[in-house]
Amino acid sequence: MRIVTSKADLVEALGIVGRAVSTRSSIQVLTGVLVEAEGAGITLTATDMEISVRAPLRGVVEATGAAVLPARILAEIAKTLSPREVTLERKAGEQQVDLSCGEALFSLRILPAEDFPRLPLFPIEEGFTVAKESFLATVDRVAASASRDETRPVLMGVLVQVAKNVVRMVATDSYRLSVKETPVEASVKEKIQAIVPARCLTELSRVAAGVAADSITVVPTHNQILFQAGEVLIISRLIDGQFPNHKQLIPENFESEAIADREEFMESLKRVSLLAPKSAPVRLQFEGNTLTISAQSQDVGAARESMPVQYQGEPLEIGFNPDFLLAGAAGVEEEDLHMRFISPLRPGLLRGQADDFLYLIMPIRLGE
């Protein structure tokens, strides 16, 4: 194998695949990045057994071949090279790769490429394409609600449903639940549903945002899902199990509704929540057309702030985790924030004018 590329291209490609490099596997070869030079070009691949990322590396293939190089050290070397041409060469039969750039020469021992897992084969013709921007926007608004609790793996995923004209994503950590429906032209034949690890989607969002392509190709299979943005592939194992039925969780009728200026609400909430540290609740009091947000901390003190809202319903006092409330308000992304409630102990709903984004949040029981 002999390839010629540039420092900038190498750094960029390693940056894309780097996040998929395993940090805790017992399989040594997964700490490496697979460099493959073929007639069609050069690709880099990394995997941590959960997600795999493959990205092209711009450059010239002078001799075909493959090698697995230690990912972290290669990335560090690449970053410190002078901005010039970089040559990677593995001489036939040798267990090392020579990396040269200007006068600098590194000889890196390689890992056994035959132990590197094969990327699963995907029937590309069974996939479909969606518009990148709306797909990623959906990811960004939903994925943060996914759970980080490893004892309930299903909740660490995002339920992705794709029908002909709409993509729906649902995520919940059992304290809050986000649903976003995005109308999108998807070239999909029948309804598709999968539980994708939230980590895969946030990774996709990060990588795809930097790729010049208008659409994302999605190929779901029974066990894995593939996303292709431009020439970058992200593959993830799917989560097995039953995702909670969000339709059953979202109440149909509410007792009261408040409409607030979203920006103003978020500003007030941020200020007041400074005195609600470590998941202590903030208190929302609705009475007449006034909302009073308050919080108190035993050690530091108390804060309160009132703001005008349009409120319909009986006076209500309800407590929430300020971080979760803030995340929900941020997800609404409209000028007006609609908040609906039933009672202080039933979940509240945050949404915009339309119902394409719903954020259900569990209240915290307030003491006196």
Partner: protein
């Protein structure tokens, strides 16, 4: 018994010798569809772990274990992505390891149709770990296969055992063992036969005796100490304990050297400080485990080796020479074995057994060994 179907399976389980029942169960599972959990149980050193990895290869290979494909090769060398091994972290399998497994099992396989979890020394699961594992075992994801390996299944939770298909392994029959030693290592028939008798159905011990000079030396040492014991004075018994401790020390040093070599290699690959500290920690745990295992194996060897000597003396004294284990010492056994001491020999063996029991607890090695030697001596008076 149904013979194994097809030549494929016998190649897959090529390293497993003289376990027709176990191989029938596993072979049929590969051909007719597998249950979600198997418990490979039986004495140490008879090939359970080899069988577990071969079985895993069979479960991962699209052809049920063809032996030549890439799935088979990677699975058998333990580097397949859809194969996870869980082994004791220190002296037990901890609940965190089981949580990690549960999380992993919730995700569908990476490239194969299934995901296989090989759980070594399964009986070392702590009770919370076993209960957490039970949850997964009760409602396993359809793609997950668990292969538990244990040489002490009675220490597993019965609720775990009852959810596994049991695959029993036995001491390797001497005939099969001798044939294996002959074909694999090219031993002459009578040497292979003698070794098979010495190893008493312990395949890995027989193999170690074949290719390791130090294992042979350890055996000679233990037998000569046992032989010397009846005539040894008080000070000499102390000296014997010293010699045994030195032998354990040599075993530990060899194990440490082996682990340290691998550590050096992996440290070079770990690029950043975080990766290095992870490798460091992983190897600390492993080092402790290997040290413990080396000491344990050494103690087992001393106890069963010396008990075996007195067993042979009893057998010779009773006039049943053809059942002697240490066949290569027949002349010495004839010389030493006294029919009048038959009951004393049985006492000695009982003392050895008691010591073996004692080592299941956290006892001082040297004290317990010395105590064993003295109580053996006492029995002979």
């Amino acid at each position: 018994m149904t013979p194994l179907v097809g030549a494929v399976d016998s190649a897959l389980f090529g390293n497993v010798v003289g376990q027709p029942l176990a191989l029938t169960v596993l072979g049929q599972a590969l051909q007719r569809g597998s249950a979600h959990a198997y418990l490979l149980h039986g004495p140490r050193g008879v090939g359970k772990t080899d069988a577990a990895y071969a079985f895993a290869a069979g479960l991962l290979c699209p052809d049920g274990g063809c032996c030549h494909c890439d799935h088979c090769r990677r699975a058998r060398s333990g580097v397949h992505v859809d194969l996870e091994t869980v082994a004791p972290d220190g002296s037990s399998i901890l609940i965190d390891q089981i949580r990690q497994l549960t999380l992993d099992a919730a995700m569908r396989p990476y490239e194969a149709a299934r995901r296989v979890y090989v759980i070594l020394e399964a009986e070392t699961m702590t009770e919370p770990a076993a209960n957490a594992f039970l949850k997964t075992l009760e409602e396993p994801p359809s793609h997950a296969r668990f292969v538990l390996v244990s040489s002490a299944p009675e220490r597993l939770l019965p609720t775990v055992v009852s959810r596994c298909q049991r695959v029993p392994f036995f001491r390797t029959p001497a005939k099969a063992l001798a044939a294996h030693l002959g074909s694999r290592y090219g031993l002459r028939a009578e040497d292979a036969w003698a070794l098979a008798r010495v190893a008493q159905g312990d395949l890995s011990y027989a193999e170690a005796l074949t290719h390791s000079q130090s294992v042979r030396e350890d055996r000679v040492l233990v037998l000569s100490l046992a032989r010397e014991l009846p005539s040894a004075g008080f000070a000499r018994v102390q000296g014997m304990a010293d010699e045994v401790m030195a032998m354990l020390g040599r075993r530990v040093a060899a194990a440490v050297a082996c682990v340290e070599d691998q550590k050096t290699c992996e440290m070079e690959w770990a690029a950043d400080a975080r990766a290095r500290s992870r490798v460091e920690k992983a190897f600390d745990v492993r080092l402790r485990r290997e040290k413990r295992a080396a000491v344990q194996a050494g103690i087992d060897h001393v106890i069963s080796g010396s008990a075996g000597w007195f067993r042979d003396l009893a057998v010779v004294a009773a006039g049943a020479e053809e059942t002697v284990h240490n066949f290569d010492y027949l002349a010495e056994l004839r010389e030493d074995g006294l029919p009048g001491l038959l009951s004393s020999y049985l006492e000695v063996i009982a003392a050895a057994k008691r010591t073996k029991e004692r080592f299941r607890y956290n006892v001082d090695t040297r004290c317990s060994l010395e105590h064993m030697l003295f109580s053996m001596k006492e029995a002979l008076l």
